[in-house]
Amino acid sequence: MNEFKLLAKRDGRIIVNHFKEIRSNPKRLGIYLLYLVWIGSLVFNVVLRYRNPVEIQAQLGSQIIGAGFVGVGTAFLLYFLYRGTLESSTFFTMGDVHLLFPAPVSPQKVLLYSMVKQSLLHIFLYGFLILALMPLIMNTSRIDLQYLPFMYLGFIGLFLVIAPLNFLVFALGSKYGLQLRLQQGIFALIVIFILYLAGFIIAAGDLWQGLLQGLNASWLDYLPVIGWSKVVFMTAVTGYSIYSIAGLVLQLLFLVCCIVISYYTADDYYEDTLKATEQRALRKKQKAGVEKAQRFSFPFSKKKLFVRKVGSGPWALFWRSKVEYSRSDFHPYLGFWTIMFLLAGIGVGVFAGKQTDGLTPLYIVNGVIAYIIFIFSASNAAQHELTKPYIFLIPGSNLVKIIGSNLTDILRMFANILALNIPLGILLNAPLQIIMILVIFDVSFYILNLSSNFLIRIIFPNALDQKALYPLFLMLQMLLLLLPGIIVGGVLAFVFQNLVLIFAGIAAVNIIIIGVLLLLSNKVFARLEWI
């Protein structure tokens, strides 16, 4: 059978089934509607901005945009090229691996079809990204809406080549044993790029000036991929010229070349894509909260270890996570991140200590940390335990189960925050009570998130819904859980004219909410299911 027809039929069925599922469960439509509202608000924002553009300086604005594009784009490109020497990118799902790969179909055609399909999909998906960036771009410089399609094509032109290029690098590298050479080449490119920028910075005698000049140098426009897509991208800012079309054509040719070369070199790539495909499947599951994210662990994975019993019943969950952490780290409570936090604390302390006398850096750092903790701990932590039946089966109080399964994570976070704040506080001469308030403030966000994780399971028991609704849930979580604290903290700080009170107020409200969530644990557990 014709491979393309087969695959197109399969994808057709998948799309039809998606629609069928929506029809049988129209609640889903609500989710998509919310996304539409979100996209609509972005467009609306763009339109509003266009009427009253805030211009910095015509020249400077376009330079900033150009430099941003080249800087970020080059970093991306180099990163993915480097990744290509280590692992392949994947265009496949686990279903493909198990059903399609063993079937009598031509691997080359399968690859070609999948690459083209992914490219078409990305043309659409990355559109949202540029849409989201539009307000920022429009704030920086006046742009010509007439040439907006160029901006869009330049942007996706860069992203479209990344996956095929990465695949090609891996395929060629592993086929001809060139990985080391390629890696050296990429490192050389990185070094050249950095030296190049350093030269401009030194010549200009100013970091920003140097970067702007270096990244906007006109010869860069002739560089493949990054330069070409920049020319196309900048059409909307600097105006149309024949080079815009030339860049577009070159970029397209490059993409087609990548795909064609992949087609002719790739005949035996199944094994190469296996690891990346598995990892992608795992990441999908993690997003859905079905699987715990793999933590960073040191290469030594200790086999033999002894962890003392910490209690019976639900406390066994605490013992269990201690064992896991002791195995993957050098201490159950201290690990890689403790060192990172410690270094960050010392670094910021030394740097900020020279610049200012006040405690502002301390507040800023802790505010940012709390925010990051809240956003990023949402998907992993206690979810892991909920994927196993034991937390449901073990006899004992539900309150202790929640505490027991989270305690190691909390203590670890506590250690990290201490490692950050103690050197930072000492270097900035902060009073001890302020440091303590900030530590409690940060940790309270972490615990708040962990204890609300169980709620996610109840509100969205279906893993797929969890994934689709994840951004929405984050927003809700922020509104419901963070807002009270921020309001109380703000009011306190305003009334007493004292910044520390913001932090103390928020921490106090967080702790109250945690208390309420924990008291509700029995109700929560009665509604949890293990499907």
């Binding site: 019943g313 269990r320 064992v323 994927t387």
Partner: protein
């Protein structure tokens, strides 16, 4: 020991278990049979409290099944083994021992591990085990607390012949110790001489609940009928 009354469980709009009732007395070894999708796993998971029932009542030794007292009385072996990747075989048993407050667990755990030929795998991480070995660990975890009621969901899947025989032997011993066992399985000959009673489910309902003798008697033609024949007879579509 276990009493299920008019239990109903729905997944969204699918009725997976439809108003079933049965009870197990102390010392009963009961097989839960039925074609794929009959609702066996759903029934067991609802008894265990992993799923919420939509209607009906479940009591374990006179306690409601979700109470702490009930949870101390039973263990459950899931359909597919769910282990912690970063724990060793031995640590799994240790974990269960702490969770269920098992007295002198080391001795018991050693015996179980020996019986299932896991002794040399004792310090291996779960993620390094084969599928069948994971299943064995999962069974050991279910056996270690020595509760009154055992709920097994297809425990023999993926086991090698020796472990299947060992599991059957263990069931025999449990029956001698007057323990209660509910085991769902498709391997009919493996429970033929083991169960005193079978429940056959089909499309969420219990269509047969009889002792083995009754079942054989009902279908007449005496000795030569195997459980498989009986099963196919009662579950066939009209």
């Amino acid at each position: 020991m276990l009493k299920v009354e008019s239990l109903t469980k729905k997944y969204r709009n699918v009725v997976a278990v439809d108003d079933i009732s049965f009870s197990l007395n102390q010392g009963d070894i009961v097989g839960l049979l039925g074609p794929n999708g009959a609702g066996k796993s759903t029934t067991i998971k609802t008894i265990v409290g992993l799923l919420r029932k939509n209607a009906g009542s479940i009591t374990i030794g006179s306690y409601p099944s979700t109470s702490q007292e009930a949870k101390k009385k039973f263990t459950y072996v899931p359909e597919t083994p769910e282990l912690y990747d970063m724990l060793t075989v031995w640590e799994h048993l240790q974990f269960i021992a702490y969770a269920y407050d098992v007295a002198n667990f080391a001795e018991k755990a050693e015996r179980l591990i020996e019986r299932y030929d896991l002794w040399d795998k004792k310090d291996k991480l779960a993620k390094e085990l084969s599928k069948g070995m994971k299943q064995k660990v999962s069974i050991c975890c279910g056996l270690l607390p020595e509760p009154d009621l055992y709920l097994f969901d297809e425990p023999m899947i993926g086991l090698d012949p020796k472990s299947i025989r060992e599991t059957k032997l263990i069931f025999k011993e449990l029956s001698e110790q007057q323990k209660t066992v509910l085991v769902s399985t498709h391997l009919l000959d493996s429970i033929e001489n083991l169960c005193d009673r079978v429940l056959v489910m089909k499309q969420g309902r219990i269509i047969v609940d009889m002792t083995m003798e009754e079942m054989k008697r009902k279908l007449g033609n005496s000795g030569s009928v195997s459980l498989e024949d009986l099963f196919l007879e009662v579950t066939k579509d009209e």
